[in-house]
């Protein structure tokens, strides 16, 4: 088989791990988000109430981690779907670089097996 094709996709552990971590953040974070904002509206929907919530560190942390996790999860998820549909050429590789550059590790691009067996 085309050994070079196996080598081309070295790495992936970080993307897989983060997909899983962000999935957990999404499940927990979305639950908090929906419960707090929609199920138990914290007081009336007034400027003061919203400003107070936005100013709280807890909600800032929940909202920011939701935003970050959601962005990563959706972009990397879409990248994986594209890969699975056979766009493993330039398009998918560019996408992989742009959404995954900040988790790049030198070992991710280490050469694979040099020959068979």
């Amino acid at each position: 088989m085309r050994q070079e094709l196996i080598q081309e996709h070295q790495g992936g552990m970080w993307l897989w791990l983060l997909q899983r971590v962000t999935a957990v953040v999404l499940v927990v974070g979305l639950a908090v988000h929906l419960i707090v904002l929609h199920a138990f509206n914290l007081g009336e929907l007034t400027f003061d109430n919203v400003a107070a919530r936005v100013a709280s560190w807890f909600f800032a942390a929940v909202d920011l981690s939701l935003l970050g996790a959601g962005l990563f999860h959706a972009l990397n998820g879409t990248r994986m779907v594209l890969l699975d549909y056979g766009f493993s050429g330039e398009v998918a590789r560019c996408w992989g670089r742009s959404s995954g550059w900040w988790v790049w590790r030198p070992s991710d691009t280490a050469p694979g097996p040099s020959g068979r067996g």
């Binding site: 088989m1 050994q3 196996i6 996709h9 890969l83 549909y85 097996p113």
Partner: protein, 241 residues
């Protein structure tokens, strides 16, 4: 004497462009029991000598006779026609694998991927004079993966293989697991790069078609998930397994 009606899918590499699939029908008489493989022998000997299929052990251990029989992955030698329903037995080659002729699949890529994961025990420490001891619990971990007969059913059934021709696939990864999980294996990070990539373990989306397809009732999905966890443990936590 009972009779079994066979519908066999044919493929002739030398025929000019084929339009649609060709199925040939054969009637095979038998006495009290007949396996699909025996039926194919009868057809080849008495009805159509040009029919091509693979077999070797006739006892469900070599994995050569994997076919798609009545829409299910089965070993022809292990399948008794009396256990099949419907008025005909439809015998097709495993789907999604290139063909050589009739029911003979081209397993070149399949075995190249098997070789790519270095399917042998690797040791660094000095070979002991006696055997390498292994606890009962450690030996138990091998029970599932060593039953794999490399028939290719799982590989043919895996949507990730259909979508990406160079994905290693469940059989090769199950074999990688068989050695990685072995307490005697000391490959360390030698074998790791062959499957720690997106044409390896991360291409598996736990669809579990492979589990359903396996005629030996093995669980490649579980093995691949273990490899994902073990890779993280090894690379991030510095653990041995």
């Amino acid at each position: 004497m009972p009779e079994a009606r066979f519908r066999v899918k044919r493929y002739d590499p030398e025929a000019p462009v084929m339009i649609g699939a060709r199925y040939d029908e054969f009637t095979v008489p038998y006495e009290s029991s007949l396996t699909v493989l025996e039926g194919l022998f009868y057809i080849q000997e008495h009805l159509d000598g040009s029919l091509a299929f693979r077999y070797c052990c006739r006892a469900a251990v070599c994995g050569s006779c994997a076919m798609y029989i009545n829409g299910t992955y089965r070993l022809a030698c292990q399948t008794n026609v009396r256990h099949l329903h419907g008025d005909a037995i439809t015998v097709e080659p495993m789907p999604h694998i290139p063909l050589v002729k009739d029911l003979v699949s081209d397993m070149t890529d399949f075995f190249a991927k098997y070789e790519a994961i270095k399917p042998y025990l690797m040791r660094n420490s000095k070979t002991p004079d006696a055997e390498i001891p292994q606890s009962e619990a450690d030996r138990k971990k091998l029970d599932m993966p060593i039953d794999c007969i490399m028939c290719g059913c799982c590989y043919s059934s895996c949507p990730s293989v259909w979508g990406e021709g160079s994905y290693l696939g469940p059989a090769a990864l199950l074999k990688a697991y068989r050695f990685e999980v072995d307490s005697r294996d000391e490959a360390g990070k030698t074998r790791l790069p062959s499957f720690d990539n997106e044409r390896g373990i991360y291409r598996c989306h736990t669809i579990t078609n492979c589990v359903e397809a396996c005629p030996k009732e093995l669980n490649p999905t579980e093995a691949i998930q273990w490899l994902k966890g073990a890779t993280v443990r090894r690379r991030l936590l510095g653990r041995a397994k």
